[in-house]
């Protein structure tokens, strides 16, 4: 290859852009050609001179500081800094209130559903030809009858001197949990007393409460892990009295 062709490749050679095989060939040529080597030297000198001359301007340190500040992670704007926590707190409070509200609503719905089921059972019992499976006015007969049939025990009140009469009892189920249903009579009215384990019932927060379900009076309370429901169509006073007697029996 003529020297002219080689010198045309000198720029790419010294810029490191010549393919490896061509670079090796040119390198060999430069070793043996004084003219091309001189041109090469001039190019290298020019490259070095421009490289040295290129570093000419030094920035003001204040400019660096300004830029560094401008590209650093941005601080939240003042309104966000002051109001964001308030906003988040308010949002969290709203969420908490909303959750509580929904939870209470859910509990109320569950409680209402449970009471409806129990009232249905009470009505079914009253209309049944065999309302109870153990027929006895003696609490010492009725209570032992439940042994082995339900996973808990309970006390029955002494009814002597009261207007209430124990009719009997049977096993009842609610939410797939077994419990006791006791029938009491007062004058011409019959009342059902349901006793279930609390853990077997749907999770509700209702405790001692006076309710009305489908025009039936209902009393309910918790005691020793058991949930009691007294349901009847008699007067509220009768329900309260019977409830007090059962509570007293513990």
């Amino acid at each position: 290859m003529a020297c002219k062709a080689w010198t045309e490749k000198l720029d790419a050679y010294f810029d490191g852009e010549l393919p490896a095989d061509e670079a090796r060939a040119l390198n060999e040529h430069l070793r043996g050609c004084a003219t091309c080597a001189a041109h090469g030297l001039a190019k290298v000198q020019q490259k070095l001179a421009v490289k040295a001359a290129g570093q000419r301007f030094t920035p003001d340190p204040a400019l660096r500081a300004r830029i560094q500040k401008s590209i650093a992670a941005p601080e939240p704007p003042p309104w966000r800094r002051h109001w964001l926590p308030v906003f988040l707190t308010a949002a969290a409070a709203l969420l908490a209130a909303g959750t509580l509200f929904l939870s209470v609503q859910h509990d109320r719905r569950s409680e209402q559903q449970l009471l409806s089921e129990l009232v249905d059972q009470h009505v079914a019992t009253l209309t049944s030809a065999n309302p109870v499976d153990v027929v006895s006015t003696d609490r010492h007969t009725v209570k032992p009858w439940f042994e082995g049939k339900i996973p808990f025990t309970f006390n029955l009140p002494e009814l002597q001197g009261s207007p209430f009469v124990l009719v009997g009892g049977k096993v009842s189920y609610v939410s797939q949990s077994p419990g006791a249903e006791l029938i009491f009579r007062v004058r011409q009215h019959q009342m059902s007393v349901f006793i279930f384990q609390e853990r077997g019932l749907r999770e509700t927060r209702e405790s001692d409460a006076v309710r009305t379900a489908l025009s039936f009076e209902v009393r309910t309370w918790r005691h020793n892990g058991l949930r009691y429901f007294v349901i009847g169509d008699t007067s509220a006073r009768d329900l309260d009295k019977l409830s007090d007697l059962i509570k007293a029996a513990g």
Partner: protein, 196 residues
Amino acid sequence: MDLFLRPGNKTRVRRFTLVCVSEERSLSGSFEELALPLFERLYNFAHWLTQDREEAEDLVQETYAKALKGFRSFQPGTNFRAWIYQILRNTFLTSRTGLKSTATVPLESESDPQILPATNDTPESVLLQRSDQQLVQDALGRLPVPYREVLLLCEFEEMSYQEISATLAIPMGTVMSRLSRARRALRDTVQELREH
């Protein structure tokens, strides 16, 4: 904000907020790591282009602002240096000084991407010594911007032809031919300055 329309709780809201903030900080942090080490060189290049300290400062500041704003569009793993130099150069070209500098200097035709043939200059006549630094700086300052920038990117910034092509948005062949013409123009200018 749909943040509060979604079902969730306080923890979720806080986590979402923290993710946004941390992502923003992380993005800003990685930009700072990539861009700040180039500050001195970007300023030097900007000053070479504008030939004025104040304009160079404005240009660098605007470059950093634009780069930060557009950093989300930058693809990690690609050439950040070429990307930010391109922003600086484009910003310069749209400035008053940039428009003036490119509008008034006709370049030789670059349609032919071939490298210029070797000149008849003797090696001695074109030899530049390191002691000629002031002379070379003056000569560089007199070169048209397209020649000045391609020389600085190649010799001072030691960019590859491919990086220069990306920075100046010109084909590789044009990079080679422009470099060749720029080097010859520099030699000629140095020669003129020497003779006067």
